[in-house]
Amino acid sequence: MAENKILNDLNTSLAGENEDTQKGKFLTFHLAKEDYGIEIRYVTEIIGIQKITEVPDMPAFVKGVINLRGKVVPVMDVRTRFGMPTRDYDDRTCIIVVDVDDKSVGLVVDKVNEVADIPDHQIEPPPRTNRESTRYIQGLGKIGNEVKILLNVQRLLFSDELTMPGEM
């Protein structure tokens, strides 16, 4: 129930944002041992984990589709997308529904934290590594001592590292 309250609060604060106030705001979430953030303008809502219908013939990170109030929304497991070991979903697992180019996609994350302000000057460019998953990183945001890995949603969704069937 406590989890529900957090989700409700987050959703309420999401609904209150408009384009002007969205700038510099990131929704932060937890994945494995790190905190991540995505620009809030992409986020439409956050829901608890629910039954996902598998779709055959999809890349592994596309878990399937869910019913979001009558809308069929595909769901991506961000852990699988980053090649991290999978973990069983529990009651803290959340689906962040993002909307990019009018396409809604759900992102499965371990836990949602909060909406945080990270001004531009607190954001460092992405580190230079040769790791595969770096390409999804937009920058590193600093809040005091904490570091949030800020993700590029566009690339997270559409990076053609794995071509989606049907997009060929």
Partner: protein, 840 residues
């Protein structure tokens, strides 16, 4: 201009536009009906009048009887068949020769209300035209003049004008720009009325044709296009009727579209100058030029039409793999393209699109095709000045007087200028004659109350209802109340379930609209085409009340236009030929719709000459589309060849059809909505095309099946039967393929759990269920654990993000909120065939 209009006013104006569009949609068929109800006839003949004293007896007089011996106007009041003006108007002769009074009244009322609303909104020009049309009708109605074909044409033109004006009103909120045309149309309507009155007074036989022909000099909008070569009276009359419709607005759209087409053609050609491109590029080039030609033909720019026609012919040769005199015609084509472009620019500046050096280019193209002496072919480029210099257009005649008047139209600047209106240009491939599919214009054949609703809102509603069904389930089967004795709660719950079901059923039907709106648009098409082709055609509509999904209607509009055009152009014979064949002079095209086998069948039938099997076969063999002599092919297989791209048996290619593009469009559109086309034809008797279309794209009957813990929906339409197999019915081939025997046939078994990569309840066929699926006469047996039941399912697309998934045609949301995939049976069968082919 529109700045000082408040948003309230805008809303009123937009509402007016919508309403008027509906009105015009209604109006057109009625006007045409009126035209048809007017027939020549003599009073003594129709009534069997024996009155020998009457001077009309035995004569065909041009003065209608009610004005001569009757009781209307200055009639001599000697006719024994009536005694008052009322009697005359009710008289069979009046009804027959001057149109049905009811029909006239209906048209009159519509024009009248348009006039009223337009006047109220200060749309003076629209009001003026409506007023003039109304006055003309009033004369007819009161019997002061006799109705003739030119009046019907004029009324149609008034409708066209109104349509154009409405479009303008929609974007500009006033109709200032239509002033010139409005004056012209009004003047023509007035003159027609005056002339008809005069005719009645002078009792001079004046035929309809001379009336229309005596007028052209007096009006000016962009039609100064003599048609020297297109001889033939009916055609001329038709051309005139078309020219009238051309407003500056349309010319602007024409030039914009032409520019786009030429540009895209140019890209293709440029590619070609380097190396011969693939067939798709050529095909798209061909299509571009074809559409361009069509538009030019429609607007009567005959030079442009002729040149592009020839370019098209060249491309056709290339397409069919023939050798050209010059292996790379791209340069020559580019030069011609530039000529076209300059001419189009001329048109957009108010010119007439003439190409002075037309013959030079034509010769070049002929040379390419090897039609003429080699001389031209040897050095096609040297013979002509380079492109930019090339097209010395006939100096455009002094701008028509109308142009100088207040504001006929901000004179078009450059053709490529961004469209000033949000309205999208008409799709190029569509025949220019096709009236644009006005959104939401469908009207029931019978009077009924309609409410215009935003489609998005509707979809939201339907989604919400779907959600409610789920919520209701969750409420009634809520784990919190399980085991409690709640008699009243359950009663209330049942009541609610029932209501929710009903609600859902109604919601399903909301998206369905009758086909009547679509059918009625065809009336105009047939009317125009029959004039143009000089054929007499009657269009018979039936089953207009049949309801189909809105999206289906939108998708089949183009195919229907193409099919009807084909029927008229190729199917029906000219009157003389029909008489020779012992058929009535007037051809009949039947357009009908009905529900059948859970689908909608839309049939287009004509009683023309039918498809020529031998000719199709010969053409197909010459194109290498089939092997052998084709004697083993069924009629059905041969007829289906006509839907191949680029296939046409037409000996001559007219500007309406004959290139083999249209049928390809038909097929593609129908396939898009998972429909089928069936062609039957009897030589000499006619052709029938049936479009079999799923009732709605949104809902299917589905059978829910289960494999392990996964559920899937199989469309019920594809299921022939389901059974639990006994071991003896299963045969396994040496390569491991299981075959199930159903009576005398063997069908391959596909295990659904393998397709979905799931763990089934049991691997033993005898412990599950086999479902015999039928797709295009190919059968397969699908192995599942069990069948859960049948249900109506609302189809939803899988997200764009996922794209197309093999074996899955969509998904649906079940009562418990879970998403369930719908199997694509066609794909399953095809996959199996491919596997077979690979394995073999």
């Amino acid at each position: 201009m529109s700045n000082d209009i408040s948003s309230d006013q805008i809303e009123i104006i937009l509402e007016f536009v919508q309403e008027s569009r509906d009105m015009i949609d209604q109006l057109e068929p009625i006007i045409i009906e009126l035209g048809q109800s007017c027939q020549k006839g003599d009073c003594w003949d129709i009534l069997g009048c024996q009155n020998a004293d009457c001077h009309r007896q035995g004569h065909s007089l041009s003065l209608p009887c009610w004005l001569d011996t009757g009781y209307i106007g200055n009639g001599k009041q000697t006719c024994p068949h009536g005694s008052s003006e009322q009697d005359c108007k009710k008289c069979a002769i009046f009804q027959k020769t001057n149109g049905n009074i009811e029909t006239i009244n209906a048209i009159f009322r519509l024009f009248h209300s348009m006039k009223g609303s337009a006047g109220f909104l200060d749309l003076v020009h629209l009001a003026a035209v409506a007023h003039a049309a109304e006055s003309l009708l009033d004369l007819v109605r009161s019997g002061k003049i006799q109705m003739d074909a030119s009046h019907v044409d004029l009324l149609c033109q008034s409708c066209d004008f109104a349509k154009e004006a409405l479009e303008l009103v929609e974007s500009e909120y006033n109709d200032q720009a239509t002033a010139a045309i409005a004056m012209d149309v009004t003047a023509r309507l007035k003159r027609a009325a005056e002339e008809a009155l005069e005719r009645v007074n002078q009792v001079e036989p004046v035929t309809a044709a001379t009336v229309t022909e005596s007028e052209p000099e007096t009006y000016s909008p962009p039609r100064q296009e003599p048609e020297p070569e297109d001889a033939g009276a009916p055609k001329d009359a038709a051309m005139q009727c078309f020219e009238l419709e051309i407003t500056p607005e349309m010319v602007e759209r024409f030039t914009q579209e032409a520019d786009e087409l030429l540009q895209s053609a140019e890209q293709g050609l440029l590619q070609w100058t380097e190396a011969k491109p693939g067939p798709d590029v050529i095909a798209s080039l061909f299509r571009n030029i074809h559409s361009f030609k069509g538009n030019c033909g429609f607007f009567g720019y005959s030079d442009l039409e002729r040149l592009s026609h020839q370019m098209e012919s060249v491309l056709d040769l290339v397409k069919s793999g023939k050798e050209l005199a010059n292996p790379n015609p791209a340069d020559t084509l580019l030069i011609c393209l530039d000529v076209l472009r300059v001419a189009v620019a001329d048109v957009s500046d108010g010119g007439n699109g003439k190409i002075a050096t037309l013959t030079t280019y034509q010769q070049q193209l002929d040379a390419l095709m090897g039609v003429q002496a080699k001389a031209g072919a040897v050095m096609p480029r040297a013979a002509v000045p380079p492109a930019p210099v090339a097209p010395p257009i006939v100096p455009s005649q002094p701008k028509p007087a109308a142009k100088d008047q207040p504001a006929p139209e901000p004179v078009k600047t450059q053709p490529p200028a961004a469209p000033t209106k949000p309205a999208a240009p008409k799709p190029a491939s569509v025949a220019p004659l096709a009236p644009p599919a006005a959104a939401g214009s469908a009207k029931a054949a019978t009077k009924r109350q309609d409410l215009r609703v935003d489609l998005d809102k509707l979809d939201q509603l339907i989604n919400l209802i779907g959600e409610m069904v789920i919520a209701e389930n969750m409420l009634i089967h809520n784990p919190d109340i399980v085991g409690l004795e709640l008699e009243n709660f359950h009663k209330a719950g049942q009541q609610m379930s029932k209501l929710v079901r009903e609600l859902q059923e109604i919601a399903m039907t909301i998206r369905m609209i009758p086909v009547s709106g679509l059918f009625r648009r065809m009336i105009r098409l047939v009317h125009d085409l029959s004039l143009k082709a000089g054929k007499k055609v009657e269009l018979v509509l039936s089953g207009e009340d049949t309801e189909v999904d809105k999206t289906v209607i939108e998708t089949i509009t183009d195919p229907l236009v193409h099919l009807i055009r084909n029927s008229l152009d190729h199917g029906l014979e000219p009157p003389a030929e029909r008489l020779q064949a012992g058929k009535p002079e007037k051809g009949v095209v039947r357009l009908s719709a009905r529900h059948e086998e859970g689908q909608v069948w839309i049939a287009i039938e004509d009683d023309g000459r039918g498809l020529n099997r031998d000719k199709i076969l010969a053409k197909a063999i010459s194109r290498g589309m089939i092997e052998g002599d084709g004697s083993d092919l069924s009629d059905k297989a041969i007829y289906s060849l006509i839907f191949q791209a680029g296939f046409s048996t037409a000996d001559t290619i007219t500007d309406v059809s004959g290139r083999g593009v249209g049928m390809d469009v038909v097929k593609q559109n129908i396939e898009k909505i998972k429909g089928k086309i069936e062609v039957t034809s009897k030589p000499g008797k006619g052709t029938r095309m049936i479009l079999r279309i799923p009732l709605t794209l949104g809902i299917i009957d589905g059978m829910m099946v289960r494999v392990g813990d996964t559920k899937c929906i199989v469309p019920t339409l594809t299921i022939r039967e389901a059974f639990r197999p006994v071991d003896e019915a299963i045969t396994i081939t040496p390569d491991g393929q299981e075959l199930a025997r159903v009576r005398e046939n063997f069908y391959p078994v596909i295990r659904l759990h393998e397709v979905l990569a799931k763990e089934p309840q049991s691997h033993e066929l005898s412990e599950g269920i086999l479902i015999l699926l039928d797709y295009q006469d190919k059968g397969i047996c699908l192995f599942v654990d069990e069948i859960l039941g049948q249900q109506q399912t609302v189809i939803k697309g899988l997200s764009d993000y996922i794209g197309n998934v093999r074996w899955v045609s969509g998904c649906t949301i079940l009562g418990d909120g879970e998403v369930c995939l719908i199997l694509d049976v066609g794909h399953l069968v095809e996959m199996f065939d491919m596997k077979e082919a690979l394995g073999a």
